[in-house]
Each structure stands twice: as structure tokens, then as C-alpha cells.
Symmetry: C2
Subunit: 251 residues, 2 copies
């Protein structure tokens, strides 16, 4: 982390839209382009980055008295509460403690020199995004939604909150856009259609991409492979374009 | 609300697993069986119950100086932050305030005499479930997950937290269990298979039901109809069985 590091917060407001999967794939996509990338799991209580990145059993280690050494995978430096605690113990902590932990993760993890720090935000428009906007005013946001109106409505509230605190939104990514039956090729808009585009218009930002719901993504989230690693795959190509788009917008 | 009201908290830990949809359908199912049911949207920042129940444009009103009159739909008394505030304004509040609002909703809403108060918990294992377990120690939990390992892991942490504070878990509901292509009838386990059952075994409680991902559910969440209202539908039948099961377990 230094003054040239771009902090990209990946948020959705609503949980379960695949925000962490998008954050992980974006991190891989940017890293594959040659950038130094860190990935911080801001969902202290509901972390899923270790599962997605396939580093569930790896622990972050202390360096001296104050610094934490992140876990590394696919060239990306990763920090998640899941790499510090035992997975079978529930964490019962309150909001202000959580904000403190996130601040500590940003400051005390030995990120080294990064071009990008991707921050996978927790669901909600509560303590953590609020603290973040107050602490790091030049954080840029990528808003993730699904084609569901309920998801779009909550994502919009997060977007409005970012704009209210003068944080820049880079764009919107629609996840789980459609599903293709691998037997008959029928395209199913299981969760609805077009809300990502509507959201981008309402927030007056660009729609960066629409990512289909494929089994490769689901398995990716569960067994720890990242579709963006395979640039020839459907999903890989989409993330490559999104990565290029983001870099262009930041220049 | 009186001393005979059973408080059923519907929680998942992880967001986006369809917890609010499950809560709404369960409320309808119990109400259709003749019980007096209240539905409280505990997701103060990320409310979606008004959308799901089709009461987005209705506002809760004040009675005298201290009581709030809930919105009513399908015979169910409903309270959500979405029925108090303007949908286009993001709510930027911190944890302790949120717990206070939930407590106020339980106490100051004119629920009347209820057999069941269904509480749709926010995602996470943070402030709100914690306060709830501390305040209302006889709250019973229904844990919702999807067939994804990442969802199951977080749901398990919520379950362990409930058991740690000696709250009873009635059972597990697996949502989005599979999708059936309406063109060729192929059954797709889009999000994986069997994690609901594994979770119920790990928490040593029953699996109450597996709910398929059908377009009727998705549209239900988006346009405000509730599949459980139609007892002849696939989903309606499943909820009817789950409702019967819950009542049996509470006797």
C-alpha cells in the first residue's frame, strides 16, 4: 500500500449476489494483466474469500509485533478474517469493533507495493462502508447487483450512499444475468432481466458487464478455482474486458 | 404480541439466499392455517419484505404518541423500515442504533394478539441477532441456506451462535435447491447439492424442506405475489408441509 494504490471497493448492499466471487475474479483479472493486486475480505463475520480463493486452510502470520503477513495465491496478496480464526467458531462482534478490524487490516497488513487493493465489502449500508468512506475518501466503488429488483434496490441505496459521500463509482456489474441449459441451450433469465442496466442508468455510471450464471462460476466459488484464470472461458473473457474497462476509466 | 406469541427468527448468516422470501412464504403458510401471524423485517438497512409482500408504497402510521400501526396484507401484520422511509434515500446508521430500532419494532408496533411473530433477520452474525438472543432468550430459529458451501458455512456459524446462547433451532430450510429447465425438463443443481442436509446434520436439527428455484419464486420476490398463497403449486405444497412440521415441533 502506498499513495499510488487504487482502492477499489466491491459492494452490493444486498448479500448473496456473488460480490465476493466478482471481487476474486476481478483481482485475478487485474493481476494477470501484470498489476500488483491485494484482495481484502471486508466481510469480517461472513467471510467467503478464503473458500473462493482456495486458501481456507492457510493462516496469515505475524511479522514482528505489529505487522500481519497476508496469504498469497495466484500472485495476489489476500487477507480475510477466515485466515485468522477457526472456521467452526462463530464470531460475535459488534459494529464498532468490526470497523476497527477493517482499519487494522488496511494499515497493518504487509501489502507491499500495490497497484490495486480490492476490498470485498460486507453486505449492508452500515458501519463498514460508512467508516470506509469516512477514512479513505478516494476509495472508488464497483457496484454489483443481480437482475432482481430486490437486489437492485439495495445496490442503489449503496450507490447513493457512495455518491452522497462524494466517492466515485467506476461502474455496475450485473451478476447471475442468465443461465443456459447445457442440455437444450435454452437461455433462462432466472432472476429477471435488465436491472443491472437500469441501475447503471439510475446512478449515471457505466454497466461494466453482465456475467452469466454458469456451473463453472458456482463450482469456482465452492472448490476454489477462479474462472478468470482461464482467459479462453466465457467468464474469463468477460472479466478480461471488465478489467480493461476499469483500467481505462482510472487513467 | 403476548406471552404466548412464538417468535420465529428466520436467519441465514449469509445474505441473498432467499431468506426474506422464505420468511414471507412461511408467514403466509402459517396464516393460511388459521394462525395470527406478524412479519417483522429485521433487515433495517437492506429491507426487502415490502417488495416481496407487495406493500412497497404503503406506509405504517402512528397511533397516538407511542404506537405504530403495522401494514396488513393477506391477513398478516407487517412492519419494515421500508414502510417508514423513502426508498430513494440510503440509510446510513450504525450497529447500536439498528439494535435499538429492532427492539422498538418488537415493543412499539401494535401487533395485537399473535400466535407467531416471524422475524426476518438481517445477514450476518453481528449486532442484531446478538441483541435479539440477549433480549428474547426464547426466540426460536429457522436457518436458511442454499446448496452452496459458502452459504452453508456462514449459516452454520449463525446456527452455532444460536446454540451458544441456548436458543432453539427448529430446523434448516434449503432454498434454491435445483432448477428445472421448462424446455427439456432437465434438473440442474446450479448451486450444488446436499449442503442443506449436511448443515442440518452438523447442527443436529431436522431439514424442514428443500425449495426449488422456480421462476414463480423469483417473480414472487419481484412482483409481490407469494407462491405459498397457491396451495396447489409446487412451492405452495412444500411450504404447507414445512408449516405443519414447524407447528408439530412447537407442540
Amino acid at each position: 500500500m502506498n499513495e499510488n494504490t487504487t482502492i477499489l471497493a466491491i459492494g452490493s448492499g444486498k448479500g448473496g449476489v456473488g460480490k465476493s466471487t466478482v471481487a476474486a475474479n476481478l483481482a485475478v483479472s487485474l493481476s494477470e494483466k501484470g498489476y500488483d493486486v491485494g484482495l481484502l475480505d471486508g466481510d469480517i463475520l461472513g467471510y467467503s474469500i478464503p473458500q473462493i480463493m482456495g486458501i481456507k486452510d492457510e493462516k496469515a502470520t505475524a511479522i514482528g509485533e505489529k505487522k500481519i503477513k497476508p496469504v498469497e495465491k495466484h500472485g495476489i496478496k489476500i487477507m480475510s478474517m477466515g485466515n485468522l480464526v477457526d472456521d467452526n467458531q462463530p464470531l460475535i462482534w459488534r459494529g464498532p469493533i468490526l470497523s476497527g478490524i477493517l482499519e487494522q487490516f488496511i494499515k497493518d497488513v504487509q501489502w507491499g507495493s500495490l497497484d490495486f487493493l480490492l476490498l470485498d465489502l460486507p453486505p449492508g449500508t452500515g458501519d463498514i462502508p460508512l467508516s470506509l468512506m469516512q477514512q479513505a475518501k478516494d476509495t472508488k466503488f464497483v457496484i454489483v447487483t443481480t437482475p432482481q429488483i430486490t437486489a437492485k434496490d439495495v445496490a442503489k441505496r449503496l450507490g447513493l450512499m457512495a455518491q452522497k459521500t462524494n466517492s466515485e463509482i467506476i461502474g455496475v456489474i450485473e451478476n447471475m444475468s442468465y443461465f443456459i441449459c447445457d442440455n437444450c441451450d435454452k437461455k433462462h433469465y432466472i432472476f429477471g432481466e435488465g436491472e443491472g442496466e437500469i441501475l447503471s442508468e439510475e446512478l449515471e455510471v457505466d454497466l461494466l458487464g453482465e456475467i452469466p450464471l454458469l456451473k463453472e462460476i458456482r463450482s469456482g466459488g465452492d472448490i476454489g478455482t477462479i474462472p478468470a484464470l482461464d482467459k479462453e472461458s466465457t467468464i474469463g473473457k468477460i472479466y478480461e474486458t471488465i478489467g480493461d474497462d476499469i483500467i481505462k476509466k482510472l487513467k
